[in-house]
């Protein structure tokens, strides 16, 4: 039983990371119908920047973490301005390839500066595990889960109770109407990238102490976060979180009880199943086409 709970705990922790990344995807997708394949790189920047700021520049961990997230937000805004805005109205294929290109560029830049080594970020509150019903849970796991819950609350407040948040929601419901009502759609797009980068980088700094970080961690994390978003239903916050947790737990269970070699395949098998049976995802929205 302890073994099962251990696996469950690990799965929920990873799942929370996926959920944060998936939320990032959803925010941008909701505002603009764009899937940002570079989302994973925001995660990577968060972790790597924190390592550099803390390890090389010797900033206190808390400062390094916050600064890393801020750096990612700046990068997100730069990406939106330089790479997304020029092609905002292009075909989907073009957009997909542009964001893939952005992801490769960011990864390449980090590779040039920091090489291909693994880097470690210290855990936020040390490494002494707590014993929960027989499962060993690290303090970092609590940070992850706590952050997810804080983020969910903050997003709920933001989107439901602030003017800016409601404006973003308006854009996602009906762009034309929002524009006609005087909402600056371009600014909303910029904001969505900033917010998405924030969420991604947050995931990055939270997970770096657990899984180590490297110039190319963004690829798999981004893809899995995207998988989580699709599984739960692209475009809804609850879907992103549900998808993330479901993916994390399924992955952990599969690795623990079926085969650890195929752990990475779980996300993609689940994607295929969801896409082929219910493309809208478990909780997602459907968009129709008018003739």
């Amino acid at each position: 039983m302890a073994g099962f709970l251990q696996i469950l705990a690990a799965g929920i922790t990873v799942g929370a990371i996926y959920a944060l990344i998936a939320l990032g995807f959803s925010v941008i997708y909701n505002t603009s119908d764009i899937i940002n394949f570079a989302q994973g790189e925001f995660v990577m920047i968060g972790g790597m920047a924190a390592v550099v700021l803390h390890g090389s520049a010797h900033l206190p961990l808390a400062v390094a973490v916050l600064a890393a997230v801020a750096i990612a937000v700046v990068v997100g805004l730069a990406v939106e301005r330089l790479a997304i805005e020029p092609v905002r109205h292009a075909k989907i294929t073009t957009l997909i390839i542009v964001t893939i290109g952005v992801s490769i560029t960011i990864r390449g830049a980090v590779e040039v500066v920091l090489g291909k080594n693994f880097y470690r970020l210290p855990s936020f509150s040390g490494d002494r595990s707590l014993d929960i019903l027989g499962a060993q849970v690290t303090p970092q796991a609590f940070w992850v889960l706590g952050s997810l819950m804080a983020v969910m609350a903050a997003l709920a407040w933001f989107f439901n109770l602030t003017r800016l948040g409601k404006a973003m929601r308006a854009v996602s419901e009906n762009r034309l109407a929002a524009e006609l009502m005087g909402i600056d759609v371009k600014a909303m797009l910029r904001l969505s990238f900033a917010l998405s980068a924030f969420l991604g980088a947050l995931a990055g700094v939270l997970t770096a102490p657990i899984t180590l970080t490297k110039y190319d961690v963004g690829i798999m994390l981004g893809l899995k976060g995207f998988a989580a978003a699709i599984i739960g239903g692209l475009g809804t916050a609850t879907g992103a979180v549900a998808g993330g947790l479901l993916l994390g737990v399924t992955e952990a269970l599969a690795a623990g009880y079926v085969s650890s070699a195929y752990k990475d395949a779980v996300a993609f098998v689940m994607i295929l199943i969801v896409l082929l049976l219910a493309p809208g995802g478990l909780l997602g929205r459907r968009r129709a086409q008018r003739v």
Binding site: A83, T93, I97, S103, I106, G108, V112, L275
Partner: protein, 321 residues
């Protein structure tokens, strides 16, 4: 006379002749085995890219997992010839068949999707294949890959890069010819139509689901054939050939060189295969440069290099080369 020349250009015949000439004369400039290696690599990438272009450029779909089909062909050839002494041509056919069957099995359900969902589904498929190739160590040699014996045809060992150069060149010419033919036909027009408006294409009595599936299978088979040739020419295959990054590279070749243009992908394959060579000594910079080139091309030349150039030179083209 001018109209007939123009017609020849439009039908791609001129381009094909130029390609044959270029391929025939190229060896004069290849100084050593290494140069041949690169030329072969370019040729194989071009073969895959021309096939992939049928799906992406003409039919308007997308596949972020095509490297998987290339790898299936490569591994089929490698395993069957190395372990089971299957004759090489049979192994190549087997690889093509396997890739074709996989593509056929997933084509209809996957191609019902579009846009991001299709991208993700093909990506998922590609990654699953790549993971399987990595993990099934007993079958595939795992991450270390598998060595491929020298190709023997009628008892004669086909050694040396020169022979492979000609085999690959011939394959490229054939695939380009097939592609030009296809695009000139009613089926080809139908593909381009369904890329623009699937609904109107159906209203024009086109069975779009079946056409998409067939072109998906065709492009998969072409990739597998290239993979088989690669296995023998290179002598070695690893699971990296199936990876997501390889799939992205292939899509980039198509998109950058020019979608909806048979020669565009050839150009794209050439440029992108040469890129690492130009950066010898600066391997770390490859990804960064590749990414910048990719983004810039999509922003400034969204239709790719060849169509954008063509637009400058001839303002009213008809059937695309």
């Amino acid at each position: 006379m001018r109209r007939r020349l123009g017609r020849a250009f439009d039908s791609g015949a001129a381009g094909l002749v130029l390609l044959i000439l270029a391929l025939a004369l190229l060896p004069l400039g290849l100084a050593n085995n290494y140069a041949y290696d690169i030329a072969i690599r370019i040729g194989l990438n071009a073969v895959v890219a021309v096939g992939l272009n049928l799906l992406i450029g003409y039919a308007g779909q997308i596949s972020l997992g095509h490297a998987a089909f290339f790898a299936i062909g490569a591994y089929a050839s490698a395993i069957l010839t190395a372990r089971y002494a299957v004759p090489e041509p049979a192994a190549l056919l087997a690889g093509a068949l396997m890739a074709g069957l996989l593509a056929w099995a997933v084509a209809r359900p996957i191609l019902r999707l579009s846009g991001h969902y299709l991208a993700m589904a093909t990506l998922g498929l590609g990654i699953i294949v790549s993971i399987v190739l990595n993990r099934e160590v007993a079958l595939t040699g795992g991450p270390d890959g598998i060595t491929v014996p020298v190709l023997r045809l009628f008892g004669v060992a086909l050694h040396g890069q020169a022979i492979w150069y000609w085999i690959v060149a011939a394959t490229l010419v054939i695939v380009v010819w097939l592609s030009l033919n296809l695009m000139r036909s009613a089926f080809g027009r139908g593909l381009r139509a369904l890329a623009d408006s699937e609904i109107a294409a159906q209203t024009s009595a086109l069975d779009t689901a079946r056409m998409k599936a067939r072109i998906f299978v065709l492009s998969a088979v072409i990739a597998a054939v290239a993979g088989s040739l690669f296995a023998h020419a290179e002598g070695y295959v690893t699971p990296d050939e199936a990876g997501f990054l390889r799939s992205v590279e292939l899509v980039t070749m198509v998109v950058m060189g020019g979608m909806a243009s048979t020669f565009g992908p050839v150009l794209g394959a050439t440029l992108l295969t040469l890129l690492p060579q130009l950066l010898a000594g600066f391997e770390d910079w490859h990804d960064l440069l590749f990414g910048v080139i990719l983004v810039s091309t999509m922003i400034f030349l969204p239709r790719g290099i060849v169509p954008s150039l063509r637009e400058r030179l001839r303002p009213t083209p008809e059937a695309e080369l």
